[in-house]
Structure formats: structure tokens, C-alpha cells
């Protein structure tokens, strides 16, 4: 019987990173995957959506570029070609992971893992023994109990990515990150989009004024806030609006993006502590069973690919030596790859208030950036917000809406992780012209002293 130092179940950004990191430490590692390497992120999440968004943004630039001198006679978006690019990208990245596993000496088996006990995993009747087990089985789209939700034209994010042609109209139920990203994607290529959100604002994790501005910038998308879907019909969706009125909206396709549920099935027999959000772990990613660890969406702590990868590193570090390593959640960037992009890291003002943390904040229009005006024009919307601790001056949150937000937000994570203060950031040299130099400007507006 094969004996491993570590068996990892699930090969998403939590699982394959755990396997790879342990493999490069020289450990004997087995990675078990039921479907394709890469998990949701590579196959039906981050990567395919970015591939499609790349085409949609190019298309939008082509038809919106007259003010910048771009005159396109007959712009057409070929969805099938875009989908092929997406498939090609996914395939390339999948084989990249496969290569990474090989080079890290990680063994990979395909099949559904059956965990007999904390040290025994069975895949396709082969029995594998292990010292440690990392569960990284991820999550799947939640299916709300709405009448009609099981109809064939009602899709989840997994299914909508398999489309080969552009839908004429689309009702998106749920205005979270996934819903907003698809709304942005399809609205850019001409689909008529309606987003129905139960809460009073979209993007619950974002700063309120950012969500509001994003709605304004996403022209061509209708947002129905504070509205509850009652029923999904074949050609229409029935909902109750904010005022309590029952309304109906026509649509031939519906996307359900109301959240995700952890894939915890099959682990009940182990005696794991599992609650509604997933397998319960401590900040070392350890479950109630000392040799069983859970990383990524399956523990429900932070449903983001990069969180999963970090959790994987923390778990592997704790398993193979560095017992002092802990997962920190206070500086994890969140990005909405909409057009324009929204990115944030750390606290929002609302969160600070809820946590009774005294803060001061400064918001700057991106129009103050030379580069932003040059590239987006003087009427485009964009915001930079810096939130600092009232007393110590430590940066506790940075929020960006506008171009390059996704690529700039890592800097916010670095500032917050290093616990740099407003006065420290003022000493950093930012490149000019750039959008990110507005972070420094906001710091000077918070504290004008040199």
C-alpha cells in the first residue's frame, strides 16, 4: 500500500498550491482530482471569465473609441471565437498545472476520493495511506429554492461559461461579485442585462459609494435593488420590488449567482466539525481532527482563489514545520473584474464603524490622475479611497474603482500587511503618470504635513 506524507483532495488554487508547495519541500504528495486539474478557478471561474472579458473589453473599446480617434466601420463580436479563446486559455493553464505537479514531484490521480479515515483515502479502488490530509474540495453555485430555478434556461456560472453564442437578454439573480462580473461581460457585447439584488446595494463587500458609482458606470445594465425573485417562468422572471409591488421582466435566459455552497459531502463519516459555511478550521487551517486540514472555499472562511492558495501555504507550513504560521484575513484583496474594475483591500468605512475602529478616510476622484484622463476621458468615473486608523495613522483599507484597480490593489495589501502609516506611505515614490499615485495623494490629503 502506498504511504504518503500528504494527500490533497481537490486541485483548485487551494489544492494544487498545497500539493506543489509540499512537493517542492521534498515531501511525498498525492493529489486527487475528480474532474479537471485547476478547480473552479481555472475551469469555470477566474480564468474563463477573464478570457471572455478580454474580448468584450476590446469590442467595447472599438465601438466606444471615437473620442480617442478610433472609427470602426463594422465591429462585430464573434462569441464562438471568444469562447474558443477561453477554452484554449483554460487548456493551456490546465496543462501548466499538470507540468507544475510533475516538476514538483506530486503524484496525481483522477477519480472521486473516498476518505475512510483520516489516514486512508480510496480512489478508484486503490487505497492510499497518508500522514496528513488536506481537503480542498471547493464549492459550487448555490441553487436557491425559487420556483422554476431548475428549468433548462436557468443557468449557474458553471453552465453559462459553456455558451457558444451571445444571449439576447439575461436576468442575473444576485448582485455579488459573480453576478456583476457576468453583467459587465454580457452588457459590453450587447446583451440586455437586468440584475436583481435582494439587498439595497450590490457588492456587499465593497464600500457603499463604490458600489453606487459602479452601477452608474455600468450603463446598459438595469439594477433592481431590494427586490426578491418570486418565480422563474419560461420567458419571464417575476419579482417583488422595493415598494412591495409584484413585477415581471421578460428574459430568455437567467443566471443564478446567489452564493456558493461548500463541497463537504463525503466527509461526514470522518467526524469533522462542519457548519453551514463549511468545514470548521482554526487559523492554521486545521480541522478538529489534528491531521486533517481544510483550505479554500470548503472551509467557507474566504471564498477567493488567492485566499485558498494562501490557506494552502499556511496549512502546509504548519504540517511540515512552521507551526507559528497563521492565516491572516485582514489584508486579502477583493477584485471585481467588471468594466470599470473595482478592487478593495482591508476595511471599508462601514466595517470600521461596526468594529468600533476609529478611522479617517479620504476619497479622490480618479479624474485627478493625468493618466486616467488621458486614457478614459474627463467624464469617466473612478475613485480612490484611503482609510487610516484615526490615532496610529495605519492604513487599514484602500478601495479603488477604475482602470488598473485589479493590478494596483496588491500594493494596498502590502501597505496593510506591513502596517505602514499614512506618514510612511507619503515617503514612497509612486510612478507618474499613473492611477496608483492617487493613493499617495490621498495620504497627503489626510495629513498635509511633510
Amino acid at each position: 500500500m502506498e504511504r504518503y506524507d500528504l494527500i490533497v483532495i481537490g486541485s483548485g488554487p487551494g489544492g494544487y498550491i498545497a500539493a506543489q508547495r509540499a512537493g517542492t519541500l521534498g515531501k511525498r504528495v498525492l493529489l486527487v482530482e475528480e474532474k479537471e486539474l485547476g478547480g473552479v478557478c481555472t475551469n469555470v471561474g477566474c480564468i474563463p471569465t477573464k478570457s471572455l472579458l478580454a474580448g468584450a473589453k476590446r469590442y467595447k473599446s472599438a465601438i466606444d473609441g471615437t473620442a480617442f480617434g478610433l472609427e470602426v466601420e463594422k465591429a462585430h463580436f464573434n462569441y464562438a471565437t471568444a469562447a474558443a479563446h477561453k477554452d484554449e486559455t483554460v487548456k493551456t493553464l490546465r496543462s501548466g498545472i499538470e507540468f507544475l505537479m510533475k516538476s514538483s514531484k506530486v503524484e496525481v490521480v483522477f477519480g472521486r476520493a473516498e476518505v475512510r479515515d483520516p489516514h486512508t483515502v480510496v480512489v478508484a479502488e486503490a487505497v492510499y495511506q497518508t500522514d496528513h490530509l488536506i481537503i480542498a474540495t471547493g464549492s459550487r453555485p448555490a441553487l436557491p429554492p425559487i420556483p422554476g430555478a431548475d428549468a433548462p434556461h436557468v443557468l449557474t456560472s458553471d453552465e453559462i461559461l459553456a455558451l457558444t453564442e451571445r444571449p439576447e437578454s439575461l436576468v442575473i439573480i444576485g448582485g455579488g461579485v459573480i453576478g456583476v462580473e457576468f453583467a459587465s461581460l454580457f452588457s459590453m457585447i450587447g446583451t440586455r442585462i437586468t440584475v436583481i439584488e435582494m439587498m439595497d446595494e450590490i457588492l456587499p463587500m465593497a464600500d457603499a459609494e463604490f458600489a453606487k458609482l459602479l452601477r452608474r458606470e455600468m450603463k446598459g445594465v438595469e439594477f433592481l435593488l431590494g427586490s426578491t425573485v418570486e418565480r422563474i417562468g419560461e420567458k419571464s422572471v417575476t419579482y417583488t420590488n422595493k415598494k412591495g409591488e409584484r413585477k415581471e421582466i421578460e428574459s430568455t435566459m437567467v443566471l443564478l449567482s446567489v452564493g456558493r455552497v461548500p463541497n463537504v459531502e463525503g466527509f461526514e463519516a470522518l467526524g469533522l466539525d462542519i457548519d453551514r459555511s463549511g468545514i470548521r478550521v482554526n487559523d492554521r487551517m486545521q480541522t478538529n481532527l489534528p491531521t486533517v486540514w481544510a483550505v479554500g472555499d470548503v472551509n467557507g472562511r474566504s471564498l477567493l482563489a488567492h485566499s485558498a492558495s494562501r490557506m494552502a501555504e499556511v496549512a502546509v507550513a504548519n504540517i511540515f514545520g512552521k507551526k507559528e504560521m497563521r492565516m491572516r484575513y485582514h489584508a486579502i484583496p477583493t477584485v471585481v473584474y467588471s468594466n470599470p474594475e473595482v478592487a478593495g483591500c482591508g476595511l471599508t468605512e462601514d466595517e470600521a464603524k461596526r468594529l468600533s475602529i476609529p478611522v479617517k478616510s479620504q476619497t479622490i476622484q480618479m479624474r485627478s490622475s493625468g493618466r486616467f484622463i488621458a486614457e478614459e476621458g474627463k467624464r469617466a468615473g473612478g475613485l480612490v479611497k484611503v482609510i487610516a486608523h484615526q490615532e496610529s495613522g495605519a492604513i487599514v483599507g484602500i478601495h479603488l474603482l477604475g482602470s488598473y484597480a485589479s493590478e494596483n490593489i496588491w500594493g494596498a495589501a502590502a501597505l496593510i500587511e506591513a502596517e505602514l502609516r499614512v506618514q510612511d506611505v507619503k515617503e514612497i515614490v509612486f510612478p507618474h503618470p499613473s492611477v496608483n499615485e492617487l493613493i499617495k495623494e490621498a495620504c497627503f490629503q489626510l495629513d498635509p504635513s511633510l
Binding site: 507559528e324 497563521r326 486608523h389 496610529s392 495613522g393 495605519a394 506591513a418 502596517e419 505602514l420 502609516r421
Partner: protein
């Protein structure tokens, strides 16, 4: 012209003083003789007076800094006057050796200008402490003459501190963990907050009191005592009937004789001084390669003071009458308690007596006051059964004596002989008084 005020020299043995409290601040007007600060030597507290008149332009040290004598501590001049910071320490130390003792002197500033060096800490150590968020007064010193050097600071530094943690650490009142919860184990603000007792945390698990001043010196001396000697303790009981009888008589004596204040402790001191004359082996210092026996008995009297343990010294105690000894010891002890004892009155004892009888303690193991070779612990008087000349068991007052000696210098039999003689002398204290 701006003038420097120096830390005055305090006796021949004092190398540095700790500034306890500044009485003035920059901008205050002072006269010659105005008390600038109080400073603590290893044994006493002194007032440092200004040697110049004018406006305080700069105070060169902070409270708690350990400043070698004859180094400038303040600059006095005309308001708004430009002045130069004092020069390097080495240059000042040369000057210090030729300066007059016992008084603060003013010297013109030297032309060479260097940044102010922390005293008790090298400039590099001070820089490192500032940049790492380490408080100097919390560090042990491994440099020459007990100075804190950079190595000491770096040794105390664990993982780096975030800017927030650094700022908080320098404010003091917090304990810096060796490893924090931030990136790469960095110590972040929350790690410090966790160790600060705040109003929102009603019951702190502990309070950390930085080791400094007399406490620090006591700690060092006691550790030195234990680590450099081979000490052992023997105990005995001495017949205390004569002590009590005499004490009662003194109390009842006519007040003009001035004997009413003589205590049992004084009587024991007196007996000890007289006995030590017979036993020069116990009135000695052990100096590693030799034992130095003293011709006079300079009795150290361990004294509990508000600032900690002090040992004022009763010089030539063996030559004193009982009344002289009693008066002199009372004066010394009260000076020590009030922090007014001169440094020379707090060092140089040849034998020490520690009396805890008032607390009802029966016996204990006194710790040698190095380099002395012996120390006497005096306990309580208690009633014990003894056999009298007729073979009857009678109950008598007995006083407990605990003698610790350094076996490097004194053998057990010699110590036993000394303790036996002392017991006999105490039992026959009235006869001893006739000598």
C-alpha cells in the same frame, strides 16, 4: 555664552548617576544653585544644582538615563542663544578625571560637535534602540563599565516591528513579543496592545516593572554574590535575657542619660562589633587572590528603604560606646531612608548585619554583601526551653542568629567559633559593656 552643567562627582566610587526626575524644563530660568534634577547613585539620591545662571537651553538626558559623572547634563545660556551640543564621551571622560570632586562645574563647550550620546548606552545602541522601538531602560548591559551597547539592543530585538508597533513601543508601557502575528512574524500594533493593560481590560494578567535604579543594582549584586561565592549559613540561639533586661533598664533610665533609644538591635550590633575585633577573619573582604582583613569594623546595616535595600555603613563601630553606636546608626538609617545618605556612607562596609527580628522571623539565610566574607542575620526573640545549672528545664528568651560565610575565605569551624563567641557575648552583653 552657553554653559554646560555637569553631572557632579559623588565620592570616589561613583561612576554614574541615574537621573530620577528633572525639576526644570527647556526654557526655564535658573540661578546658580537652582536644583535641576534629582539623581540616584547606586545608593543615594542627590540634588544636582545648576552651576550657571540663565535659561535652560537643552536637557541632554531623559529621566531614567544613567549618566557618568562629569558629563554635561544640561546647557544653560541666554534665551534663543545658539549653542553646540557637547562633544564625544571619550574627550569628556579625560576632562572628568581632572575636574574637582563633589561639585558641579561649568565648562565652556568644546568646538567639536557630535550628537548627544545616551549615557549608559553607546550612541550606536541608542540609534538602534530608536529604530527598533526598544526602550533602553529595559535592557541589560554587556558593554564596558556596564554600558548598553548595540549588541544588547539587537539581542533584545525579535522580529522587526511595524511602524505602528514601533511608535507604540517607544511610548512605553507595553511588552514586545519576540514574534508577532504580522507578515513574516513582524510585530504589529495589535501584538503590543495585547500586552498593554488598558482601561478596557480591567484585569491585566501581569504588570511588568522595568528593572532599574536600586532594584537593578540589588539584582546585580545579589546575583554576583551567589555566583562568585561559596556561601553557607549556620544558625544559633543566644540567650537574650541580658538583652531584654538591659533594654528594660535603658528605657527606665533617667532621660538625661539619653539611653532610652537604645534598642536590642543596637545591643546586637555592639556585640557584633566587639566580637569581630576578636575574629578579624570575619571582618574581611575576599578578593579572589587574597583576603583583606580590616583593622576597623565598618558595620554595614541592611536597611529597608522606600527605594529598596540600602546598606549604610557605621565606620569604626568597634570604637564606639553603646550610646554612640546607637545614635550613629539611627542617624545613618534615617538618612538612608530619606535618600539623603552620601554615597561614601553607603559603601565600604567590612561586615554586614541584617536584622529582621521585628517581623518575628526565626531564622534565614542572609546573602553575602560581596566582597565581604560574612553577614549576620538577626531574627526574633522567642521563648525556648533550656537546662539550667541544676538540671532543671527552664524557659528563657533566646535570640536567633544566622551567620552566612563565604567558604572561600572562612572555614566552618572558624565560623562556628565566631558564632559561638558572638552568642556568648550577647548572653553576657552587660559584661561586654564593661570592656
Amino acid at each position: 555664552m552657553a554653559e554646560q552643567v555637569l553631572m557632579p562627582k559623588q565620592g570616589n566610587t561613583v561612576e554614574s548617576c541615574i537621573i530620577v526626575e528633572w525639576n526644570v524644563k527647556v526654557g526655564d530660568t535658573v540661578e546658580v544653585g537652582t536644583v535641576l534634577c534629582s539623581a540616584e547613585t547606586d545608593k543615594s539620591t542627590i540634588d544636582v544644582e545648576s552651576t550657571a545662571a540663565g535659561t535652560i537651553l537643552a536637557l541632554l538626558y531623559e529621566e531614567g538615563d544613567d549618566v557618568p559623572v562629569m558629563l554635561p547634563i544640561a546647557i544653560v545660556g541666554e534665551e534663543g542663544e545658539q549653542f553646540e551640543m557637547p562633544q564625544t564621551e571619550g574627550q569628556v571622560e579625560e576632562k572628568a578625571s581632572e575636574a574637582q570632586p563633589q561639585t558641579a562645574v561649568a565648562v565652556a563647550p568644546e568646538p567639536e560637535v557630535v550628537r548627544v550620546a545616551a549615557q549608559g548606552a553607546s550612541p550606536r545602541a541608542r540609534n538602534a534602540a530608536q529604530s527598533q522601538g526598544v526602550r533602553l531602560d529595559t535592557l541589560g548591559a554587556s558593554g564596558p563599565k556596564g554600558r548598553i551597547i548595540e549588541r544588547d539592543v539587537l539581542a533584545a530585538v525579535g522580529e522587526p516591528l511595524s511602524p505602528v508597533a514601533k511608535a507604540a513601543a517607544l511610548q512605553g508601557g507595553s511588552v514586545i513579543p519576540a514574534r508577532g502575528s504580522g507578515i513574516g512574524g513582524r510585530v504589529v500594533g495589535a501584538d503590543l496592545a495585547a500586552s498593554v493593560s488598558s482601561e478596557t481590560a480591567p484585569q491585566a494578567e501581569f504588570v511588568d516593572i522595568p528593572l532599574k535604579g536600586i532594584r537593578k543594582i540589588t539584582a546585580e549584586r545579589m546575583m554576583q554574590s551567589i555566583s562568585t561565592t561559596c556561601q553557607f549559613t549556620m544558625t544559633a540561639w543566644a540567650d537574650a535575657r541580658a538583652l531584654k533586661r538591659l533594654r528594660a533598664q535603658f528605657k527606665a533610665a533617667r532621660s538625661e542619660l539619653g539611653l532610652g533609644g537604645i534598642t536590642i538591635g543596637d545591643l546586637v550590633l555592639y556585640a557584633t562589633a566587639k566580637t569581630l575585633v576578636e575574629y578579624p577573619s570575619h571582618n574581611a573582604h575576599f578578593l579572589g587572590d587574597k583576603t583583606r582583613q580590616f583593622s576597623s569594623v565598618d558595620l554595614g546595616i541592611a536597611t529597608d528603604t522606600p527605594r529598596g535595600l540600602l546598606v549604610p555603613v557605621l565606620r569604626f563601630s568597634e570604637r564606639m560606646s553603646l550610646r554612640e553606636l546607637s545614635d550613629a546608626s539611627k542617624t545613618l538609617i534615617s538618612k538612608a531612608r530619606e535618600g539623603k545618605a552620601q554615597p561614601d556612607e553607603l559603601s565600604g562596609s567590612t561586615f554586614t548585619v541584617s536584622n529582621v527580628g521585628a517581623f518575628g522571623i526565626e531564622g534565614f539565610t542572609p546573602v553575602l554583601n560581596v566582597p565581604e566574607v560574612a553577614i549576620l542575620g538577626v531574627g526574633t526573640i522567642t521563648v525556648k526551653p533550656v537546662e539550667d545549672e541544676d538540671g532543671d528545664i527552664i524557659f528563657t528568651d533566646q535570640i536567633s542568629l544566622s551567620l552566612t560565610v563565604d567558604h572561600q575565605a572562612v572555614d566552618g569551624a572558624e565560623a562556628a567559633r565566631f558564632l559561638r563567641t558572638l552568642s556568648d557575648n550577647i548572653a553576657a552583653i552587660d559584661l561586654l559593656l564593661a570592656l
